[in-house]
């Protein structure tokens, strides 16, 4: 059983997102370690890009700061290696836009990511139509398929069938960011996806409180929390302590 499969043995799982390099590289490594050791089951480790067109203001701001502080793909991969060295043993999925990966060299990027200890990739600007090149380079490491509320049934079936690792279900029509309430019809959407795949279905975009996570966790196999995580931890004077509390709060809401 690989790390991703092991993570889903007890469901629903908690999957926070945090970008490397924010508020600085050392702190971000400490934060991700704290998230991992206080209840996160899988972490989306963010790679920064100058033009994150699927992201709302919170993640735009954080990744912009990371870039200003000098984060690069290379340093991000070294940070993943460092996390493994510190004993972080949950799946780490690299989430980033395509261009920096291409600039690094796709095959080299995938190889170095695997060697660093990454378990898979989420690339929001790589829909099924364009994923072949990446998947050929990635080999056994999964490129996580994304589905959206706008995805029509036939397309959903085709994408869900080819899913590896898990499915990332975007819960709202929009960009990343906190929402006051959960998307309507989410339960139906999850049911639809499950008709086509036995892969775990994880829900992200717009989930910001432990209460919302609990509600989603009753329907989905995993709950992804991005902007709220970045905002709470990034806005704290003691980010590592904030990360511990954040993870613990979501952990207890989901059990």
């Amino acid at each position: 059983m690989n790390r991703i499969e092991s993570a889903f043995t007890t469901k629903p799982i908690f999957m926070p997102y945090f970008p490397l390099g924010y508020p600085d590289l050392e702190t971000s490594i400490d934060v991700i370690e704290a998230l991992a050791k206080n209840g996160a089951d899988l972490i989306e480790v963010g790679l920064s890009f100058s033009d994150p067109l699927a992201d709302g203001p919170v993640i735009q701001h954080a990744t912009q700061i990371a870039l200003e502080k000098g984060i690069t793909v290379k340093k991000s991969l070294e940070a993943v290696k460092e996390l493994r060295r510190r004993g972080v043993d949950i799946p780490l999925i690299l989430m980033g836009y395509y261009n920096p990966m291409l600039a690094y060299g796709l095959e080299t990027f995938v190889r170095d990511a695997a060697q660093a200890g990454a378990d898979g990739f989420i690339v929001p600007d790589l829909p099924a139509e364009e994923s072949k090149e990446f998947e050929e380079a990635a080999g056994d490491l999964p490129l996580i398929r994304m589905l959206a509320p706008t995805t029509p049934p036939e397309r959903m079936e085709a994408i869900a069938r080819s899913a590896k690792g898990f499915i990332y279900l975007v819960s709202v029509t929009g960009i990343t960011g906190e929402r006051k309430s959960l998307a309507e019809g989410l339960g139906d959407l999850i049911t639809q996806v499950r008709e086509h795949t036995s892969a775990p279905v994880c829900v992200g975009f717009g989930i910001s409180t432990p209460e919302q996570a609990k509600e989603v966790g009753e329907m989905a196999d995993g709950v992804i929390v991005g902007s709220a995580c970045v905002k709470t931890i990034g806005g704290s004077e003691k980010p590592v302590e904030a990360a511990r509390q954040f993870a613990a709060a979501f952990r207890s809401a989901l059990r």
């Binding site: 699927a54 920096p100 994304m146 029509p152 085709a158 975007v170 929009g174």
Partner: protein, 397 residues
């Protein structure tokens, strides 16, 4: 999951967008393909181009400029005389008609120089659509008259404060709005850029420039030009005029990028002109040449003309360059400003700063050509919007 039309130009183009948008691109392609095959749609579009835009735009012989340069005879395709002052209206109307066909009620658009924003606002007013235009704060400051125009036409102009606060960031914000409101909103992209079907669709709507120009050359001059020159930001005016001549192997096609302060200074928008930064990458849904740093972060660009101040070039231009069907060069801010004044003095035409880059290349090239040779320049827009910038730049000297 296959497209109806080829989604790529050789290795360039494609559909690099979030899944949320894929269904909208599929719907758009279907609407575009069915509209193209629909005689009624084409008739309506042609009618608007004639009665509203004022097409065909004239072909003007630039007699005094030709004499001054002492070489090739120079002809101007007068897109500056199109309604709203630039070629952008051709594409804006075409897409706005498609929006009606798709039953959507709202459009979002990005704008750099403001020309596409004005064209979109105009098309929206004409066809009764809601219109939101995203514009970088830097561009708002340097293209003020166009901001007023958009507002007068009933559009909402949303300033973009993220990133470099120019065209690239306006596109990011327009896409974010589109992702959020995709069910009732169309993204009226203004250049031959972005994910498929935009580069193909925008070329089709701009191909009227090339069709008219070719016919006018044959009817009024009696032969095709030796060289066609156009400025290239995203490249919609260039691809529009090139499309009329691309099958005429003897006609040389030249695109002119923004050389900014000079390629060597690093402050420019010459994607093809600077191999140290211009490499193949993916931005805004398409694979093409992109100015970027070693780590794949999109580079800051600079040009005196807001419409050329963009880090990527339309994917079809990347292919035309690879196969050497078109050639690309650049003109600096200084050369463009000088060309701007030259055209004012010799022809009584105030060109847009974007178009002035094409004129700058004519000034370099015409004297080396024979008097029986012909250059056709696509004068993509008029310069009224640039007066503030030009006054400021000229007072620096």
């Amino acid at each position: 999951m296959t497209t109806l039309l080829p989604p790529k130009f050789g290795p360039y183009g494609g559909q690099f967008v979030p899944e949320t948008l894929m269904p909208a691109l599929i719907e758009l392609e279907e609407a575009f393909v069915s509209a193209k095959a629909d005689v009624e749609f084409q008739r309506e579009f042609d009618k608007l181009l004639a009665s509203f835009v004022g097409r065909p735009t004239p072909l003007t012989y630039a007699k005094r400029l030709s004499e001054k340069l002492g070489g090739a005879q120079i002809y101007l395709k007068r897109e500056d005389l199109a309604h709203t002052g630039a070629h952008k209206i051709n594409n804006a109307l075409g897409q706005a008609l498609l929006v009606k066909r798709m039953g959507k009620r709202r459009i979002v658009a990005e704008t750099g120089a403001g020309q596409h924003g004005v064209a979109s606002a105009t098309a929206a007013a004409l066809l009764g659509l809601e219109c939101v235009v995203y514009m970088g704060e830097v561009d708002i400051a340097r293209q003020e008259p166009n901001v007023f125009r958009m507002k007068l036409l009933g559009a909402e102009v949303r300033p973009v404060a993220s990133g470099t606060r120019t065209l690239k960031d306006a596109i990011n914000e327009a896409i974010r709005d589109w992702v959020t409101n995709v069910r009732d909103t169309h993204y009226l992209l203004g250049s031959a850029l972005g994910p498929h079907p935009y580069p193909t669709m925008v070329r089709e709507f701009q191909s009227v420039i090339g069709r008219e120009a070719r016919e006018q050359m044959l009817m009024e001059v009696g032969r095709l030009p030796d060289t066609v020159i156009a400025c290239v930001g995203g490249g919609s005016n260039a691809i529009g005029v090139f499309s009329g001549f691309v099958d005429d192997a003897d006609v040389e096609l030249i695109g002119v990028e923004a050389g900014g302060s000079g390629i060597e200074t690093g402050k420019h928008a010459a994607r093809f002109g600077d191999p140290s930064k211009g490499r193949v990458g993916v931005i805004h849904g398409t694979r093409t040449y992109v100015l970027q740093d070693e780590d794949g972060q999109i580079a800051e660009t600079h040009s005196v003309s807001a419409g050329l101040d963009y880090a990527a070039v339309g994917p079809e231009h990347a292919l035309l360059r690879d196969i050497e069907r078109a050639f690309y060069t650049s003109a600096t801010d200084e050369e463009a400003l000088s060309a701007f004044q030259t055209l004012c003095h010799t022809e009584g035409i105030i060109p847009a700063l974007e178009s002035s880059h094409a004129v700058a290349e004519v000034i370099k090239r015409a004297p080396k050509m024979r008097k029986d040779q012909i250059i056709l320049v696509n004068l993509s827009g008029r310069g009224d919007k640039d007066l503030n910038t030009v006054i400021k730049e000229l007072s620096k000297e």
